[in-house]
Amino acid sequence: MKPAPALISVQDLRTTYMVGGRPFHAVDGVSFDVARGETVGLVGESGCGKSTLGKTVMRLLRPSAGSIRLDGVDIARMEQSELVPLRRRFQMVFQDPFASLNPRKTIGALLDTPLKVHGVRSAAERRRRVAEIVERVGLPASALQRYPHEFSGGQRQRIGIARALVLRPELIICDEPVSALDLSIQAQILNLLVDLKRDLGLSYLFISHDLSVVRYFADRVIVMYRGRVVESADHATLWRNPRHPYTRLLLSAVPVADPGRRREPAAPAPEAGETSAGGCAFRPRCPMAQARCAAEAPPRRALDGGHTVACHFA
């Protein structure tokens, strides 16, 4: 499924942290596109680099290599001052909205600030847009006079979404937006995100460790392991025909809410150990590993229909 040209196109992106004086590539040569109106799910376990990738695309972090093209314009090396006018177009929703909302400001003020920063001069116009977005995310108008601590987790996430949307962006990067929420609230927020996407023509980069949520919510899915993309495919293909041994391991570990379909006990896979430099990062846990996997990192290769996999033998 490749509709319009990519809204955002990431090529060979690398984000490097210094750990104990040595460079560590948390994101190590990642490439992907998000098309207009598309939801791309980014899954992987803790430490795989998915949140770092989200923050780098958002340019909260500076990449050490690669490009991030927003409608063809590379933002990877821009200074923050150059980024400000572009930020209106891509916004972020965080896992814990409470931590990202100033506790001393009313919701009205929290939503007003981004409009001011982005040059909406007329106070009446700002009020109109704030009221509109508050209603759109399902909060009562009375919320505007209240403070973040007065809201429940689900309502706070609605505030976080309202703040991301008040600038009418095209792309929303969602980092675990429903992970902190109870199941009954999770459904409310996912439905809201679906409605907003349809009504406002949004694109999402949806980062989550929860495969069931990604399966429901994404059009296309990227699986990361240790900073690299190991597989990508449209949602139906990935679940019907996962090719990378890591994707298979991940999918088989998801507990299905059906006692009639109990999974086989997991083979006691070794913990992710040290990998030989240059080899495949998944090799120590891989049931299919051979000598070549230690010597040579598998490149990402294309299969049918936009499906890619980075494995010598998959």
């Binding site: 376990e45 803790s46 429940s152 689900g154 309502q155 109870d182 199941l183 009954s184 609230i185 999770q186 459904a187 409310q188 996912l190 439905n191 679906v194 460790h209 495969l211 069931s212 949520v213 399966r215 429901y216 919510f217 949602h235 139906a236 679940w239 391991l249 991940l250 088989s252 570990a253 998801v254 507990p255 299905v256 809410a257 059906d258 006692p259 009639g260 109990r262 999974r263 006990p265 997991a266 006691p268 896979a269 070794p270 913990e271």
Partner: protein
């Protein structure tokens, strides 16, 4: 599993903070050798219940009433000294974040040995030998070396394995596991829960598994008790429960769950929502779920409904459902 003898009988257990009661007189059983899941959303009182069973409630919280019968004794009334003989020995507890329950400045092996030395007539040497066996039993490689390491040297999954080794060290009859895998990655979760399930069988322990994850319940539990706002809404064997949950809240939870319908996608199916939030129950004299419930009758608003049988081993606290029986 229900033909087995009852190991733990909780009767009308009430727990509160100060003037506020949080768990309102709940009753449930755990049979010897079974895995019973206690599920519910945050704030429903499931973790407080677990801590109350062990009498390890946080400061300010206390048991307001009820009994916790275990092997002929009432744990709610037992003197602290007798309780200490029991904890870690006959009943043990596994918490979500092992880092907070392990001592950061003692090697893992010594912490496990302490449990053995406290409860079993063993020499230090024997205890250390048993520690190495236990670490091997829970799948920690190189027990000799790892036993001398500190909690911070362990990964999250390995730390939880160490906690399990400590919990099963004295071969307890009941392990209470409060969200034991919530902090872990999904592949590690499967390994840890498989391990706990294996040990349950080989050591014939019962497991009281406290979780918010219905997938975990379906995969690893024999029976399930659903809590809502400090009360039991439904209890059933997992088969009938997932096939046809009877309480409107339980039905709502399964409908709201993305994993439940397998290959559902946003383009083809909208998730069922439970309107409102748990806070709606605060001022409710009747059923705590009534403000969010799609099928209330006047009786729901009078008093909290009691648990009544709708089928074998299947009980529900809902007058509407009980009337359908």
């Amino acid at each position: 599993m229900s033909e087995n003898e009852t190991l733990l009988q909780v009767r009308d257990l009430a727990v509160g903070f100060g003037k506020t009661e949080v768990v309102h007189g709940i009753s449930f059983d755990v049979a010897a050798g079974e895995t019973m899941a206690l599920v519910g959303e945050s704030g429903c009182g499931k973790s407080l219940t677990a801590l109350a069973l062990m009498r390890l409630l946080p400061r300010g919280a206390s048991i307001r009433g009820g009994r916790v019968l275990f092997g002929g004794r009432d744990l709610a009334a037992l003197p602290e000294r007798a309780l200490r003989d029991l904890r870690g020995n006959e009943v043990s507890l596994i918490l979500q974040e092992p880092m907070t329950s392990l001592n950061p400045v003692l090697p893992i092996g010594r912490q496990i040995a302490e449990v053995l030395l406290r409860h079993k007539p063993m020499s230090r040497k024997q205890a250390w030998q048993r520690v190495l066996e236990l670490l091997a039993l829970v799948g920690i490689p190189e027990p000799q070396r790892r036993a001398r390491e500190f909690p911070h040297n362990f990964s999250g999954g390995m730390r939880q394995r160490a906690m399990i080794a400590m919990a099963v060290a004295c071969e307890p009859r009941l392990v209470i596991a409060d969200e034991p895998t919530t902090a872990l990655d999904v592949t590690i979760q499967a390994q840890v829960l498989d391990l706990l399930d294996d040990l349950r069988k080989t050591l014939s322990m019962a497991v009281l598994l406290i979780t918010h994850d219905l997938g975990v319940v379906a995969q690893w539990a024999d029976r399930v008790t659903v809590m809502y706002a400090g009360r039991v809404a439904e209890e059933a064997p997992v088969g009938p429960f997932f096939q046809a949950p009877r309480h409107p809240y339980a039905r709502g939870l399964l409908g709201a769950s993305v994993g439940e319908s397998g290959d559902a996608h946003y383009t083809t199916r909208r998730l069922a929502e439970i309107p409102g939030s748990v806070a709606s129950a605060a001022a409710e004299p009747g059923c705590p779920f009534a403000p969010r419930c799609p099928e209330t009758i006047p009786a729901c608003r009078v008093r909290p409904p009691s648990l009544e049988a709708v089928a074998a081993a299947h009980r529900v606290a809902c007058p509407v459902e009980v009337a359908k029986r």
